[in-house]
């Protein structure tokens, strides 16, 4: 767990944003939406695992079982 994850999420976000813009310009709005959705899902997977780790850590620290 380090800064790389932040860059990765930001990178995916920027690429998705550019791709959606290009697709939108070419008149493929639907595909643009699709790309955005996929991007959000991919990032969500990363964030969800991170959140899971975080919750586990908190639970371990405060003995909440």
């Amino acid at each position: 767990m380090d800064v790389q994850l932040l860059f990765r999420i930001a990178g995916v976000g920027i690429i998705v944003a550019v791709m959606a813009t290009v697709l939108k310009q070419a008149g493929k709005d639907e595909q643009g939406q699709m790309v955005t959705l996929v991007g959000v899902l991919v990032v969500l997977m990363m964030v969800v695992t991170l959140l899971g780790k975080f919750f586990n850590l908190v639970k371990a620290t405060f003995g909440m079982y």
Partner: protein, 173 residues
């Protein structure tokens, strides 16, 4: 570390290459449609003024039609001359089927040519010219559409290819 870099480079390159391929198809389609138009225009002249028999007419059409359409028309002429009881339409249809892998025409474009198959060479001059001109008009419309699509999609597919490569690397990293 080096291995990782090489892997990342490959991961970026593969989708980029696919994107460029798709973009290239959009670039080639108008050219091919134009080639067919040139070929058919020569065919019209041959039929209307020369009353040239089909294999010869197809061959001189092939010379005017540029590489891709030319290859198909020349192949049709060859098939027709080889005989075996096939009509010019069937020869052209077979030639088109044989080259399908190397042309970038959409099914709709092929449909325009397919409309010629049953009539090619099968009626009088007037009728032939009418059918050929109709096909020419439809090809011109298809070319305009293809040029429009090229303008819109050629660059897009390149971008999308490269960007999805980058995204893949980021996600897998």
């Amino acid at each position: 570390m080096t291995l990782k870099l090489v892997g990342a480079a490959l991961t970026v390159l593969a989708p980029s290459w696919i994107g460029f391929q798709i973009a290239a198809r959009y670039g080639r389609r108008p050219v091919e449609l134009r080639g067919f138009q040139n070929g058919l225009a020569v065919l019209v002249t041959e039929v209307e003024y020369g009353a040239t028999p089909m294999p010869d007419a197809l061959r001189s059409a092939a010379r005017a039609a540029g590489p891709v359409a030319g290859a198909i028309l020349a192949d049709a002429a060859r098939r027709l001359e080889a005989g075996g009881g096939i009509t010019p339409g069937e020869a052209l249809s077979d030639a088109l089927a044989e080259h399908r892998g190397s042309v970038c025409l959409t099914p709709a474009d092929e449909e325009i040519l397919a409309a010629l198959f049953p009539v090619l060479g099968a009626s009088d001059r007037h009728d032939q010219v009418r059918h050929l001109r109709l096909a020419l008009d439809r090809l011109a419309a298809a070319e305009a559409e293809a040029a429009d699509e090229r303008r819109r999609y050629e660059r897009m597919y390149r971008y999308v290819g490269v960007l999805s490569g980058l995204a893949l690397v980021l996600i897998l990293m």
